[in-house]
């Protein structure tokens, strides 16, 4: 009986070890990076932000792209903006090759091009006649180019402007000037605020993130004469102009903004507008495609659009584009370019317009979108306003004083992700009333000064 026991035990042990080994081998073989098989079928991994236009292209990819390109399968990884940056930066910096196509903006493009983490697209673009480089809107194209070489292809482009409820203004006997100033907008917002119905006068971003609340705040800073760093890389976050602008922004939220503003970013404000909890919204121009879409928005058709409010400069909108680039470590570059040239082409815009409605197409990337009669008809409310706003941006000199970097609502140095996040945390604290603006800015200056020092 003793001998039988040892025999069964040894059998059991052998079976367990075999099972573990098989499971281990199975896990190893299913991990990514499978090489192209004999049929030439490749899978490309595309990392995108979770904005509505990106969700749309995911829905349209099977019929719109994979059907006509049977050898290429597209796998999407959709993340929110902050997480996307974390994952993608980690991957390119470590040359992981986890992604083939990554969605980046004009902030990352010059830095990553310099580090050779993304590929120069000019040779691909010049060989691809259908791509039509000259159709790309110039400020957008310039923001994605280094020394005239295009490093990322714009999927959509945006600036910022003011969206407001024409009907609510009319009911209150107010009118919006064709080129409003921030003081005028603040006065209108205070009059439109209605605590009884839960209607905020204006919805402004308060959420922590260098691309969240800092984007609109920086445009206010620029137009009121402030700046992050002067030409000698001295930090100026406690200058009177910067403080005036930040006080203006924070106080406007407190006086006429939405409650819980510290949690609000693009999606939350769009939701607030649609739920009639806000009368005005200063944010990205693509917000118009969302809240003016007659199929999905209850307030479509009731909106007016004004250029980004100004103070001391002729224009003040920001410039941003979400663009697709090819990771240098990718093993499927040809397939990646085929996908990029489809996703950012006039053909895709036409296809999306037919399938989903012309108000939902990704705006701000190509001139042809704005001369398309179908688009102009569907988006007549905001098409001209958007194009004019984007064209009015000077990426190199957006504010009153010259600055040593290109960028409107960010500072294009690698340290800005951390610096911007820390400063935006202080701004959220000021909006929530946890500290005064002066305290927030003095801490922010403490973070920024040594970084400026290291760039001198």
């Amino acid at each position: 009986m003793h001998g039988l026991w040892i025999g069964r035990g040894r059998w059991l042990m052998a079976a367990t070890i075999a099972a573990v080994v098989v499971a281990g081998l199975a896990a190893c073989s299913s991990s990514g990076g499978s090489p192209a098989q004999a049929t030439g079928k490749q899978t490309i991994t595309v990392a995108v932000v979770n904005n509505p236009q990106m969700i749309d292209i995911q829905k349209l990819t099977p019929k719109g792209f994979e059907a006509s390109h049977p050898n290429i399968k597209v796998k999407y990884v959709t993340l929110d903006e902050n997480t996307l940056r974390d994952q993608v930066t980690k991957d390119v910096a470590a040359s992981g090759g986890q992604f083939d196509v990554v969605m980046i903006g004009p902030y990352e493009t010059p830095i990553w091009a310099k580090n050779k983490w993304i590929d120069d697209l000019s040779s691909y673009a010049s060989k691809d006649a259908a791509y039509n480089v000259s159709d790309l809107i110039k400020p957008i194209k310039d923001s994605l180019s280094v020394n005239g070489h295009l490093y990322a292809s714009p999927f959509y482009g945006e600036s910022s402007f003011l969206m407001y409820r024409k009907d609510l203004l009319a009911k209150a006997g107010l009118s919006m000037s064709a080129h409003p100033t921030w003081d005028q907008v603040a006065a209108i917002a205070k009059k439109l605020k209605n605590p009884a119905t839960g209607m905020a006068g204006i919805c402004l971003r308060g959420k922590t993130g260098w691309g969240e609340n800092l984007a609109p705040l920086d445009t206010v800073v620029n137009t009121m004469g402030g700046q992050w760093f002067d030409m000698n890389w001295n930090a100026h976050l406690t200058s009177p102009a910067f403080e005036k602008a930040t006080n203006f922004y924070v106080n406007l939220i407190k006086a006429a903004g939405e409650s819980g503003a510290g949690n609000f970013s693009f999606n939350e404000c769009a939701n607030a507008m649609e739920q009639q909890k806000a009368a005005m919204w200063y944010d990205a121009t693509v917000g118009a495609s969302v809240i003016d879409d007659p199929k999905e928005s209850p307030i479509a058709g009731k909106l007016g659009f004004a250029p980004a409010p100004v103070d001391m400069t002729p224009s003040s909108g920001w410039l941003w584009t979400w663009a697709l680039s090819i990771e240098a470590a990718s093993k499927h570059k040809a397939a990646a370019w085929t996908y990029i040239s489809w996703a950012t082409s006039k053909q895709y815009i036409d296809y999306a317009g037919q399938q989903l409605g012309w108000a939902r197409v990704p705006p701000g990337s190509r001139y042809s979108t704005y001369s398309n009669p179908n688009y102009r008809k569907a988006a007549h409310d905001f098409a001209t306003a958007t194009l004019n706003q984007i064209n009015s941006v000077n990426v190199n000199h957006p504010g009153v004083n010259p600055q040593p970097y290109a960028g409107v609502q960010y500072v294009s140095i690698p340290e800005f992700e951390d610096l911007g996040t820390k400063v935006s945390q202080e701004i959220t604290a000021a909006i929530a009333g946890q500290e005064t603006v002066a305290q927030a800015l003095s801490k922010a200056q403490g973070y920024a000064a040594p970084i400026g020092q290291s760039h001198k």
Partner: protein, 312 residues
């Protein structure tokens, strides 16, 4: 004489046999042990290695050996010191609160009630929900200033649009962590309560002791070591709390809810300063090892007491 000598040799042979059998019994554990060592120790050694380097992903060519520089930097960083204080607060309060709540719930669950099994499953469920999903439900469904259930429930009491997440950020995180870890304490304390010898309690009742006296003089001392275990194990897990902070407050207005794990995340994935983040990781592991040592001593104390009860 020969018989005694034979007996000695036989005993030595028996001991050698039993040692061999013990080694055979431990053999199946070897793959698991090797796997554990590889999966936990190799990353740890690499982390120590990175913590001694000045290494930033944004400047990959400037990487060099820097000795203990990163440790000096983090300890002279005011935000890191704030994060340490926040870590202590955001660990102690949820652990103690969930212990007290857990004790109350365990006492209630210790009696034979109709539907006791179902109640126990429901009580344990917060522990089984994904922390990130639970954090989102807390943030948007319950605590939202405009649409949250909490503000709606409190409206008759005069509460209007309170921004819980931004104005009471520490309290929010403490509440979410307490909600998540109370079931853990309930399970441990329930085990302790149910291991009480029933006949001794019966005897105490027969002798005329009231329920409060039984609780204070018999149950509590018996539960002491279970509570210590709950505190120590709970603290080891709660000190690493990240999901709730990341999803709800992003480190809180300013740095009010930034604890060391979240600050480490910011150093690694915003600043891409791998050296500094690794140094923080090493500091957290060192502190956790110290706490874990106490945990092991408590557990061994627990078992020895059980052994003594058995002999009684």
């Amino acid at each position: 004489m020969a018989a005694i000598a034979d007996h000695g040799t036989a005993a030595a042979w028996a001991r050698a046999q039993s040692r061999r059998r013990n080694r055979l019994r431990r053999l199946p554990l070897l793959p698991a042990l090797l796997f554990t060592i590889v999966v936990t120790q190799i990353p740890f050694v690499l982390t120590i290695y990175y913590s001694l380097q000045s290494y930033n992903f944004n400047y990959p060519l400037l990487r060099h050996f820097a000795g203990l520089h990163n440790y000096t930097v983090i300890f002279s960083d005011a935000i890191f010191r704030t994060a340490l204080v926040n870590t202590v607060v955001l660990t102690l309060v949820p652990v103690l609160a969930s212990l007290l709540l857990g004790l109350g719930i365990a006492l209630l669950l210790d009696r034979k009630v109709f539907g006791r099994g179902l109640l126990r499953t429901l009580i344990v469920s917060p522990f089984l929900v994904m922390p990130a999903a639970a954090a989102l439900v807390w943030k948007f469904t319950l605590l939202d200033a405009e649409f949250g259930l909490l503000n709606w429930v409190l409206r008759p009491f005069g509460v209007h649009h309170t921004d819980w997440v931004n104005n009471h950020s520490k309290e929010t995180i403490i509440t979410v962590l307490t909600w998540q870890w109370t079931p853990f304490m309930v399970l441990i304390l329930l085990a302790g309560l149910q291991s009480q010898p029933g006949d001794v309690l019966e005897a105490a009742r027969v002798d005329g002791a009231g329920p409060w006296q039984i609780f204070r003089r018999m149950t509590l001392p018996h539960l002491r070591q279970y509570m210590e275990l709950g505190i120590v194990l709970g603290a080891i897990y709660v000190v690493q709390a990240f999901d709730a902070i990341f999803m709800i407050t992003s480190g809180g207005p300013g740095q009010q809810t930034t604890n060391v794990p979240y600050y480490l995340f910011e150093a690694a994935f915003r600043a891409f300063d791998i050296g500094r983040a690794s140094a923080m990781g090493v500091v957290v592991v060192a502190a956790t090892i110290i706490i874990a040592t106490f945990a092991l001593r408590t557990i061994s104390g627990l078992f020895s007491e059980q052994g003594m009860e058995g002999r009684l």
